[in-house]
Amino acid sequence: MAAGKRKPLVLDFEKPLVDLEDRINRIRQMADENGVDVTEQIQQLEARATQLRQEVYTSLSAVQRLQVARHPRRPSTLDYIQTMTDDWLELHGDRRGGDDMALVGGVARLDGQPVVLMGHQKGRDTKDNVARNFGMASPGGYRKALRLMEHANRFGMPIITFIDTPGAWAGVEAERLGQGEAIAYNLQQMFKFDVPIICTVIGEGGSGGALGIGVGDCLMMFEHSVYTVASPEACASILWRDAGQSGQAAEALKITARDLKQLGILDELLPEPVGGAHSRPLEAANTLKATILKNLQELQALPPDQLRERRYQKFRRIGYFTESGEAPRPAITE
């Protein structure tokens, strides 16, 4: 896993933009020192920078979006929670002997309303990343998440989940403690809850590790977030037998928000500030909060049985196949 390497803060495709911004700063500095008026030039250059930023960010490839989604400065679960909510209290522990720092959760007020929030938590720096296992949760993390969801259900609080993980942790201890079972059980239990569940892919949605807190009434994704069945790197090494083909795999797997909207998987695409959520985190948080509140209002109008039925039917519809209908079929009691 490449997660151990410290990634550059400037992405390749952002380079021309960063260069231009540097140039603007240098001119401004020189003008200040020499007392020359360069307002007009600066304005021109800034207009160009804005245009360039727009161009770059509206035509991102799947691989580039993957880079944005994994950007070390991209707002994390705790960043959003702390920005959006009041009275936040993080709650710890799976009550089975552990507290997985890679999956955090707690209670808070969202626009006055008590809610339970949780999500994968990547580190904010290298040390933090090690403690949080780069956002790759262990079985205990999924069990903690379930415990918090059950708590929410018991007290009629909506469940808000944030997805941001390269995948569930793949290690000996995770296998021994039943990583598969932990995720599977969450998938099943999430269909049972009477309270609204809103899931948002804020960064990287990595496979089963993402889905483990991803079964809800409404799936939202930020514009540059990705959600994938297998990491493009893993997919490339299996299907292309060459991990170097991960760019091709990223395109082929259809991992962007727009793709997933078309496939009928994504319910709500959240626009990001030009330059990505990391360039204006507060703006991204505002969008996220407003959209959660909008969807909550709609979902809370439904009685619990309708809500669960709607949730089931939402997933029930997903999939593409043909059906010739040539085979004999017993009548199913309608």
């Binding site: 021994r176 598969g180 069945v229 259809k254 199913i332």
Partner: protein, 324 residues
């Protein structure tokens, strides 16, 4: 997938085994056990459900064999055989997904990687799903998800148990996120089945990995496994790469899961039919109840079970609903 390693580990050739004539090996009259190397008369081996009588090694069998081994004669009615795969993403790796589908279909004679149907096991009615590793490694895409979901819904409507024989490398990457979402879809259907107080038993066979392990393989009321089956969430190689160390030999085997509390029992293939029928029978409620409402109806707790007089199964199937 470390299938090769798995087989390699088990190759302890028994030098004392008699060598049958080469011609007969070529004709398939004899089959060599991959584990102990002993030659067995293929007919005998088949009669023993492809379990080596020398070392108890469970050789690969396919979905047709499984159905034949488990289901009472003349009770099998396949479900949703017309559901066939498409290529929703226009996926192409070294080969186009469309071509992979055609090849797998031609090679296996299957439409996709699962067969579903209803039938009886020693007189016990049930809905059965059998995954088939021959078809693209038993991978789960839209068809596997849809067929299993429909089978579970059918069982919920009929008020019968579900058994799924798992054999899968995980989610089918060629259908991208559609495959991942099948995990949730099937789990949701199982939740509804469970809410009606009905029994679900997955049987984990070699190999059961990835997305299948992280969904319906681990959601049984009871979970059975075949001896020595490889069962795990993450690939062995992935873990080895992360840790840079060799893993213990029994890692991710049925026995390892049993020891760690994730499997109820390891059942040899030759005992599976009897065990399943006994379990289904034991878990039948005093008065067989058929759920009211359709698959799309309200799904709540077990308290909503209708107290209908028992009409345990589609009567047109077997004429009578005879219970032992």
């Amino acid at each position: 997938m470390s299938l090769f390693d798995w087989f390699a580990n088990r190759q302890k050739v028994d030098a004392t085994a008699p060598e049958p004539p080469e011609r007969e090996i070529a004709d398939g009259l004899w089959t060599k056990c991959e584990a102990c190397g002993v030659m067995a008369y293929t007919k005998d081996l088949k009669a023993n459900q492809m379990v080596c009588s020398n070392c108890e090694h469970h050789m690969r069998v396919w979905s047709d064999d499984r159905i034949e081994q488990l289901i009472d004669e003349d009770t099998w009615l396949p479900l949703d055989t017309g559901v066939a795969p498409v290529d929703p993403l226009g996926f192409r790796d070294r080969k186009a997904y469309r071509d992979r589908i055609k090849e797998a279909q031609a090679k296996s004679g299957l439409v996709d990687a699962v067969q579903t149907g209803q039938g009886e096991i020693l007189g016990e009615p049930l809905v059965l799903g059998v995954m088939d590793f021959r078809f693209m490694g038993g991978s789960m895409g839209s068809v596997v998800g849809e067929k299993l979901t429909r089978a579970i819904e059918h069982a919920t409507n009929q008020g019968v148990a579900v058994i799924i024989l798992c054999a899968s490398g995980g989610a089918r990457m060629q259908e991208g996120m559609l495959s991942l979402m099948q995990m949730a879809k099937i789990s949701g259907a199982l939740e509804r089945h469970r809410a009606q107080g009905l029994l679900y038993i997955p049987v984990l066979t070699h190999p059961t990995t990835g997305g299948v392990t992280a969904s319906f393989a681990m959601l049984g009321d009871l979970i059975l496994a075949e001896p020595k089956a490889m069962i795990g969430f993450a690939g062995r190689r992935v873990i080895e790469q992360t840790l840079r160390e060799k893993l213990p030999d029994n890692f991710q085997t049925a026995e390892y899961l049993l020891a760690n509390g994730f499997v109820d029992a390891i059942v040899p293939r030759t005992q599976l039919k009897k065990t399943l029928s006994q379990l289904i029978n034991m878990h039948r409620r005093p008065e067989s109840k058929v759920a009211v409402g359709s698959a799309t109806g309200h799904n709540g707790t077990g308290s909503e079970l209708a107290g209908n007089p028992s009409q345990p199964f589609n009567e047109s199937l077997n004429g009578s609903a005879s219970m032992p």
